[in-house]
C-alpha cells in the first residue's frame, strides 16, 4: 500500500501543473508557455499561428499548405540552403504544417542551440521571401506528393470519407489540395496570403526542455515580442457541418493493390464540448482499449480479417469525426463492413458495461506519465491546454474528470453522434 501511495503522488507531481508551467501573454498577443525538463540536454518547441486552409478558395485549395511549406525556402537573411545548414549543422530541426484552422510549427534542438532555433522560427514566420526558383521546386515536390497520395489506399480512403461526411463544408476539402489547384497557385498568392494571415494575434508557443523557464520566456519574447501585423485578418466564420440523411458508400478504385482501406463513421464532438471526454472513453471501448477495443476484437482477433482495425475520434476546434478504420483484403470488405456496423449498433443500443468503462478510465489515467514523458509530448499537451482553454491545472484534475464519466453519459454521447443508418463509408483499393 505504501508503495502505491508513493507512486500515485509521484504520478501526479510528474505531470505539468500551474506551479511548473509558466504562461505569459506578450503585448502583441502571443501566448508563451514554458516548462523545464533537465532529464536530457534537449529542448522542443511547438505552437501555431491563427491561419489555415479555411482561407483557401476552392480554385487555390492548398494555398495555406503551400505557404507553410514555402516558409523555409528562403528569408530576407537566409537562402534555403543556408537556413537548413544552420539547423542541420547542430542537429536541430524546424518544420511547419497547415491545418484547417491553424498553421503549426515544431522544432527541437540541443538546449545550447535554443536561441538559434527561436531566431530561425521568428525569421521564417515573419520574413519569408518565397524565391521564384524555390517555389517552383516546391511545387513539383507537392505535385509528386499528390501523385503518391492518389496511389495510397489509406490517404484516398481518408479523403473520400471526409468528402462524404462533410459535403458542402470546409472540412470536406483536403488541406493539401489537388494537382490543378496547386498548379493554379502563384508566388504572388503565397506572398499575399502570408501578408494577410500571418501575425502574432492568437499565436501560441510552448518551449519545453533543459532550459530555465524564465530564460526560455525571455528568449522567446526577445525574438517574437516585437512582431506586429496590422493587416492580420481573422479566419472566416465556419458553418456547422450537416448530418447525413442516409448511409452513403463510395469506393475509390486503385488498381494493383493487395489491400483495401475501409473507413466507416459519422460526426463527432468538438474538443471543447462538455461530452468530449465521455465520447473519448466510449471510443476507447469501441475501438482502442487492448488490441483495438470491440472493433479490434471482432475484426482482427476473432475474424482474422485485418492487421489493423480500430476506431478514432478526431475532435478539434470544430466538430470532428468518429470513425472505424480497417485494412482488409478486397474480398473481405463487405464482411468487415458488416462486423463494424454490427458493433456500432450494439454500442448505441446497449452502451458499455461497468467493467469496460472502469478499464478504460484506468487506462486514461494510468497512461498519462507515459504520454507526457518526452519534451515534445509535454509541449503538445501545453498547446492543447491553451488551444482548448483547458486550464493549467487540467492534468492535475484529469483523473477526477475521467472518473466522473458515467455509463449513461457514454450511452448518451454514442446515441447523439452515431446513427447506424446514417453512416459515411469510404473504401479505397482494387
Amino acid at each position: 500500500m505504501c508503495a502505491q501511495r508513493k507512486s500515485s503522488l509521484a504520478l501526479i507531481s510528474s505531470l505539468p501543473g500551474p506551479e511548473d508551467v509558466y504562461r505569459k501573454v506578450l503585448s502583441n498577443g502571443i501566448t508563451v508557455l514554458c516548462r523545464a525538463n533537465f532529464n536530457s540536454p534537449s529542448v522542443s518547441i511547438n505552437g501555431y499561428i491563427n491561419a489555415g486552409s479555411l482561407f483557401d478558395s476552392d480554385e487555390k485549395l492548398g494555398l495555406a499548405d503551400f505557404t507553410a511549406s514555402a516558409l523555409m525556402r528562403g528569408t530576407e537573411k537566409h537562402s534555403f540552403d543556408s537556413l537548413y545548414n544552420e539547423l542541420e549543422a547542430v542537429g536541430a530541426s524546424l518544420g511547419f504544417d497547415a491545418g484547417v484552422h491553424t498553421t503549426g510549427f515544431h522544432g527541437r534542438a540541443l538546449a545550447e542551440d535554443l536561441t538559434l532555433l527561436l531566431d530561425l522560427l521568428s525569421e521564417t514566420l515573419r520574413r519569408p521571401i518565397f524565391p521564384d526558383a524555390e517555389v517552383e521546386k516546391l511545387r513539383h515536390q507537392l505535385l509528386t506528393g499528390l501523385a503518391i497520395r492518389a496511389q495510397d489506399t489509406s490517404d484516398m480512403a481518408d479523403l473520400t470519407f471526409d468528402e462524404i461526411l462533410f459535403q458542402g463544408h470546409p472540412y470536406a476539402r483536403p488541406e493539401d489540395g489537388f494537382p490543378e489547384t496547386i498548379q493554379a497557385i502563384t508566388r504572388q498568392d503565397l506572398m499575399e496570403y502570408h501578408r494577410k494571415s500571418f501575425g502574432p494575434r492568437e499565436m501560441v508557443i510552448a518551449v519545453v526542455g533543459a532550459v530555465e523557464p524564465k530564460k526560455a520566456m525571455d528568449a522567446t519574447g526577445r525574438v517574437l515580442g516585437d512582431w506586429e501585423n496590422p493587416n492580420q485578418v481573422d479566419l472566416p466564420v465556419m458553418s456547422e457541418p450537416k448530418r447525413l440523411d442516409e448511409t452513403i458508400k463510395r469506393h475509390v478504385k486503385i488498381d494493383g493493390k493487395s489491400q483495401a482501406d475501409l473507413i466507416i463513421g459519422t460526426n463527432g464532438p468538438r474538443r471543447t464540448d462538455g461530452d468530449y471526454l465521455a465520447a473519448a472513453l466510449g471510443n476507447s471501448i469501441l475501438g482502442q482499449f487492448g488490441m483495438g477495443g470491440r472493433i479490434g476484437d471482432a475484426v482482427r482477433e476473432k475474424a482474422g480479417l485485418a492487421y489493423f482495425a480500430y476506431s478514432g475520434l478526431s475532435a478539434g476546434i470544430g466538430p470532428g469525426s468518429w470513425s472505424a478504420n480497417a485494412g482488409v483484403n478486397p474480398a473481405n470488405v463487405n464482411k468487415a463492413t458488416d462486423l463494424i456496423v454490427k458493433e456500432l449498433k450494439r454500442f448505441v443500443k446497449s452502451g458499455v458495461a461497468k467493467e469496460e468503462l472502469s478499464d478504460s478510465q484506468a487506462n486514461f489515467i494510468g497512461r498519462l506519465p507515459l504520454s507526457l514523458e518526452s519534451n515534445s509530448g509535454v509541449a503538445g499537451a501545453l498547446i492543447n491546454i491553451e488551444r482548448y482553454s483547458l486550464g493549467l491545472d487540467y492534468y492535475r484534475k484529469y483523473p477526477d474528470l475521467v472518473k466522473s464519466v458515467t455509463r449513461s453519459a457514454v450511452l448518451e454521447v454514442a446515441r447523439k453522434y452515431i446513427d447506424p443508418d446514417r453512416l459515411a463509408i469510404a473504401i479505397a483499393g482494387s
Binding site: 540552403d81 536541430a92 530541426s93 488490441m291
Partner: protein, 427 residues
C-alpha cells in the same frame, strides 16, 4: 550517464538493469536471438508469426486477459521481429511493472499456440503482408534483398513469403517457439524507476527457475562477395518512379561501421538509430540532397543502414522528379559518390556529423522506453558497450577514414540498383 548492471542468471538469461528516476515509469524488454535470418523456405516468416502468437495467451493469462491487464494499468506493450532478433516490451507505471514481468516469464515457457487462434492469426499476418505489398518501396526492398543475398538468409523479408505464411502449421510454430524461446537464448533489459537490488531479486525469482534449454544454433551461410553490379526493375501502378541503390555493408560490430555512419550523415543526413524518440533532423544540406533534389533530379531522398550481426545493406532511396528518369538520377548519384572517394571531406563536415549524432542521442534520452530498448538491442549485434562508446567512436573518425570506407564499400560492383517504373511511363 547513469550506471547499469549486467549479469547472467544460472539458466543463461542475460539481464541488464539501469536505474532512471526521472519519471515514475519502468520499461522492460525481452530479446530472443531469433529472427528471419534463422529461417529457410518453406518456413520464411515463422519468427514473425511466432511473435504474433505470443500475444495469444497462456493457460494462466488467456489472450484477452493479457491485453486488458496491460491497458488497464496504463501500460504500453508491443513486439518486433527483425532480421536477427525478436523482442517484446512493456512500459508501465513503476508500481505496475510486476504484471509485465510475470506475463513475460509466463509466456517464455507456457504459450498455448491454440490451433483456432493460429488460423485467425495467419490471416491477420497475410493481411499485414498485403498492406506492405501496397507500397512500391516494400516491393523494391523485397526484390533488393533477394538480389543481394543468394546464400545468406537475409535473402527474404522479415514478414516472409505469402506461400509460407499460408502453408506453415501450428506445430511448425510451436517447435520454433520451444527451440528459440529459452533463457540461454534471451537477453532482458529493464530501465526506469526501481532499485537495482530489488529488481534483480524479482527477476531471479520469476525467470531464474525457467529451465535453461539448449542454446539453439544459428543459421550460418555467409554471402559470397558480389562480383559486379546487379540491376533490377519492378513495374507498378501510379506515376511516380523510385530508384533505390543498396550497397553491401559491414556488420555493426565491424570497426568500419563508425566511419560509414559519418559518411551516411554527410551523404544523406543522419540516420536515427533510436527506436523511440530520436530523429527528425532533416537532410536538406546533405551532399546528395544538394546534388539530386536541389538540382531537380529527385523530389526526396533518404539513406541509411541498420545494425546487424552479419553484413547487410546500406540503402539510398530516391523519389524521382516527374520530369526526370531514374537513369538521370543515377548518373548524378554516381558523380557524388565518386567525389567522396576522390576528395577528402573536410574536418568540419565530420564534426557536424558527430554533433548530429549527439543530438539524436539526446533526443532518445528523453524517454525511458528508448533507454531500456538500447540495453538489450545493442546486445543483439554487439554489446551494451557498443552503445556507450558509440559517440566516442564517431568522434575518433578522421576524413581519411571516411575516404577509405567510401572507396571500399561504395563501389558499383558492390551494389544492387533497383528501379520502380510506373506502368504509365513504362513500355
Amino acid at each position: 550517464m547513469p550506471e547499469f548492471t549486467k549479469t547472467t542468471l544460472s539458466n543463461g538469461l542475460t539481464v541488464l538493469l539501469k536505474e532512471i528516476h526521472t519519471a515514475p515509469l519502468i520499461s522492460s524488454w525481452m530479446w530472443y536471438r531469433v529472427g528471419s535470418r534463422d529461417e529457410a523456405p518453406p518456413l520464411t516468416g515463422i519468427s514473425h508469426l511466432v511473435e504474433h502468437m505470443q500475444f495469444k495467451g497462456t493457460p494462466k493469462y488467456p489472450a484477452s486477459i493479457m491485453d486488458k491487464a496491460i491497458s488497464r494499468d496504463g501500460g504500453m506493450w508491443n513486439a518486433f521481429t527483425f532480421l536477427d532478433w525478436t523482442t517484446f516490451f512493456e512500459t508501465m507505471p513503476a508500481d505496475k511493472i510486476d504484471l509485465a514481468l510475470r506475463l513475460e516469464a509466463d509466456r517464455m515457457r507456457h504459450s498455448v499456440f491454440d490451433e483456432k487462434e493460429f488460423a485467425s492469426e495467419r490471416t491477420v499476418v497475410a493481411s499485414e503482408r498485403e498492406g506492405n505489398e501496397n507500397e512500391p518501396l516494400f516491393q523494391l526492398g523485397e526484390a533488393i534483398q533477394q538480389a543481394a543475398f543468394r546464400v545468406h538468409p537475409y535473402h527474404h523479408e522479415v514478414i516472409g513469403d505469402m506461400a509460407d505464411i499460408q502453408s506453415m502449421t501450428r506445430d511448425d510454430l510451436y517447435h520454433h517457439y520451444r527451440t528459440y524461446y529459452v533463457p540461454a537464448n534471451a537477453v532482458m533489459g529493464v530501465a526506469g524507476d526501481f532499485k537495482t537490488k530489488e529488481m534483480l531479486s524479482r527477476v531471479k525469482e520469476l525467470f531464474g527457475k525457467i529451465p535453461s534449454g539448449a542454446t539453439p544454433p544459428r543459421l550460418a551461410r555467409s554471402e559470397p562477395e558480389q562480383r559486379g553490379e546487379v540491376r533490377l526493375s519492378i513495374e507498378g501502378q501510379g506515376e511516380t518512379a523510385y530508384l533505390e541503390v543498396a550497397y553491401h555493408f559491414p556488420a555493426a560490430s565491424h570497426q568500419d561501421f563508425f566511419a560509414l555512419s559519418v559518411l551516411d550523415s554527410l551523404l544523406a543526413g543522419p540516420s536515427n538509430l533510436n527506436m523511440f524518440g530520436g530523429g527528425g533532423i532533416s537532410n536538406k544540406t546533405s551532399r546528395l540532397y544538394r546534388a539530386l533534389v536541389d538540382k531537380e533530379l529527385a523530389v526526396s531522398l533518404s539513406g541509411g543502414s541498420t545494425t546487424t550481426i552479419d553484413p547487410f545493406l546500406y540503402y539510398i532511396t530516391l523519389t524521382i522528379h516527374p520530369k526526370r528518369t531514374p537513369d538521370d538520377a543515377l548518373a548524378a548519384l554516381n558523380v557524388e559518390l565518386q567525389r567522396v572517394q576522390d576528395e577528402l571531406v573536410s574536418k568540419e563536415e565530420v564534426s557536424r556529423a558527430i554533433k548530429q549524432a549527439r543530438a539524436n542521442f539526446a533526443y532518445g534520452m528523453e524517454n525511458i522506453t528508448n533507454q531500456a530498448f538500447w540495453l538489450g538491442y545493442s546486445e543483439m549485434f554487439a554489446d551494451y558497450d557498443w552503445f556507450l562508446t558509440y559517440l566516442d567512436e564517431l568522434a575518433a573518425v578522421k576524413p581519411k577514414d571516411v575516404q577509405r570506407v567510401a572507396r571500399l564499400y561504395l563501389r558499383p560492383q558492390n551494389r544492387v540498383v533497383a528501379t520502380y517504373i510506373p506502368a504509365e511511363k513504362g513500355e
